[in-house]
């Protein structure tokens, strides 16, 4: 099965270090994406035509462009065109935040627009001011609607970090490939065991996040 390969030398530690690299990049990017995405999403909900056009263009770029192309542009392109020499991890965080912010903003915008106008009108007629309307009526509903979608986005971001191997960052999947190749002769069937372990590692990273989302959804249901 290939599990014995993991016990050789530092292989297991190397895999875990790789996982730490993946998680570090994804968590920094997720944090940046949430902050910027919420701000941008609110701006988008204002329906200002200029903002709408700009954000639409931004969103379409993110949707059309494969993340790998973005990584190449940011890592190699900036050096070629502008002479800026970015660290690979910085480039990765920029690309993933660029992507995450766009998707997050779209989620916030969608959630905001999904609240019927009548709720704003009812709040005003109940005597709540603008801040109170948002604080007690709108935002709690938005958060609840956004949680499942954001969790989906976050886990997708964690999984997509495997692309950063293209710009020389050795993350968990790359370590896995290195181990498989290094043992190509000694244990030719190692691939199955290693990929199974990597699957479990990704699962262990993403599962708590889904659990948290389920907990929050339940908690805020009432």
């Amino acid at each position: 099965m290939g599990f014995e390969v993991l016990l050789k030398g530092n292989n297991m530690i190397r895999l875990l270090t790789g996982l730490a690299v993946s998680l570090k990049i994804s968590f920094i990017s997720v944090a940046i994406s949430i902050v910027l995405g919420v701000i941008l999403g609110i701006l988008m909900a204002f329906k200002n035509p200029v903002i709408t056009v700009i954000t639409r263009v931004y969103l379409e770029i993110v949707r059309i462009m494969p993340q790998m192309v973005l990584l190449f542009i940011v890592y190699f392109g900036t050096t070629k065109a502008l002479g800026i020499n970015l660290e690979a991890e910085t480039a990765a965080v920029i690309v993933f935040s660029f992507w995450g912010t766009a998707e997050m903003a779209d989620l916030v915008r969608g959630a905001l627009l999904s609240i019927p106008v009548i709720q704003y009108e009812s709040s005003i007629s109940l005597g709540l001011n603008r801040f109170q309307t948002y604080r007690y009526v709108i935002v709690p509903q938005i958060i609840r609607r956004m949680i499942p979608l954001s969790i989906n986005l976050i886990t997708r971001m964690i999984k997509t970090t495997s692309l950063v191997m293209m710009i020389g960052i050795v993350e968990v999947l790359k370590v896995g490939q290195q181990i498989i190749e290094a043992n190509r002769k000694a244990s030719p069937t190692a691939a199955f065991g290693i990929f199974l372990v990597i699957f479990l590692l990704y699962f262990m990273a993403c599962w708590p996040i889904s659990m948290l989302s389920r907990y929050l959804e339940k908690k805020w249901e009432n």
Binding site: G9, I61, A182
Partner: protein, 337 residues
């Protein structure tokens, strides 16, 4: 409503137009083809850039005490990482020697096949030692030093029906290739009558071959030799076919100080048969003693090796021609410093 629709259409077209513009713009920034490269170098800003050197000279590297070398980290036995996290392999063995003789610390960078040229073009590594085959196309963008290994195509077939020459392939037989490899282009160009079965990945090609869907499998000879040694019942009937390519270290375009130093180093190391020692330390487990002379290039002198392999490829005169022109190309490339 009508006004709203109009707005939507306008927004959509604008988005598409701008999206396309940015796409093409970005395309040229990351493009790997030479045409885009040329257009970008026409721009005055880019031209200024190209005079600014991206690379570090030999003295700058020595001063910093560190050298960045791009290697494969998952291509056993050329460049891989062992269970202790140390880089190993034929390329790495040579890299370590370079670092030792320069007296600097080596910082290995894990590269992928697709990004090797980019790493040099941006100066993010000083040398690429990642099984880098010398081609004319690549030589336009990076500078290759003297070669240290040979690579050609090879054909493996089951022992029961060994194919020693491509003319033995019957009209109904199929040959397995992996899409995008030199084997595919070579066979399509020179043997259009041979039916090819194409696969996207190594794993699918291997499975099909083992299931007997093709009479033979054409790939880089290093790959097929390793395959035949690792798997019982298969034999490399044609160990060296078509254009004889070489593998060489590469540096950023124009980095002559470093290039000259590497060339000098390769010539000096040739006197002590360094690359044979390298082969015996790293490749012998995979390829055995038989292929040492076929694969190793000592002291940057590719001619000897080409002679050795020409016996095998002289089966068709076309092959010999291709090999000769390629040898020329590679000497051109290495003398173009």
């Amino acid at each position: 409503m009508k006004k709203n629709n109009l707005k939507k259409i306008l927004a959509a077209t604008l988005t598409l137009a701008l999206g396309a513009a940015t796409l093409t713009g970005c395309g040229s920034a990351s493009a790997k083809d030479s045409s885009a490269e040329q257009t970008s170098s026409e721009a005055p800003a880019a031209q200024e850039q190209s005079t600014d050197k991206v690379y570090r000279t030999l003295d700058e590297i020595k001063e910093s005490g560190e050298i960045n070398i791009g290697v494969f980290s998952d291509k056993n036995p050329f460049g891989y990482v062992d269970e202790n996290g140390e880089y190993q392999g034929y390329d790495v063995y040579f890299a370590n020697k370079l670092g030792e003789d320069l007296g600097v610390k080596i910082n290995f960078v894990s590269t992928e096949a697709a990004s090797r040229v980019e790493y040099l073009e941006t100066g993010k590594v000083d040398i690429v030692l990642a099984n880098f085959t010398v081609t004319e196309e690549r030589a336009e963008k990076v500078d290759f030093a003297l070669p240290y290994m040979n690579v050609a195509l090879g054909v493996v077939s089951p022992k029961a029906n060994v194919i020693k020459d491509l003319s033995e392939i019957k009209p109904d037989d199929q040959v397995i290739v992996i899409s995008g490899t030199t084997a595919e282009t070579y066979l399509e160009k020179n043997y259009p009558d041979i039916k090819l079965q194409k696969f996207d990945t190594y794993a699918t090609a291997k499975t099909s071959f083992e299931n007997g869907t093709g009479v033979a499998w054409a790939n880089d000879n290093t790959e097929v030799i390793a395959y035949a040694i690792e798997n019982e019942g298969y034999e490399v009937g044609i160990p060296s076919l078509g254009s004889q390519d070489t593998i060489a270290p590469a540096v950023s375009k124009g980095n002559t100080t470093l290039l000259d130093w590497i060339n000098g180093e390769i010539e000096t190391l040739g006197k002590e048969n360094f690359f044979h020692a390298d082969y015996e330390a790293t490749l012998i487990d995979t390829y055995g003693k038989d292929y040492e002379e076929t694969l190793v290039v000592e002291g940057g002198k590719v001619a000897d090796a080409a002679e050795a392999s020409s016996d095998a490829s002289s089966a068709s005169s076309e092959d010999a021609g291709a090999a000769a022109s390629d040898a020329e190309a590679s000497t051109e490339a290495s003398s173009a410093q």
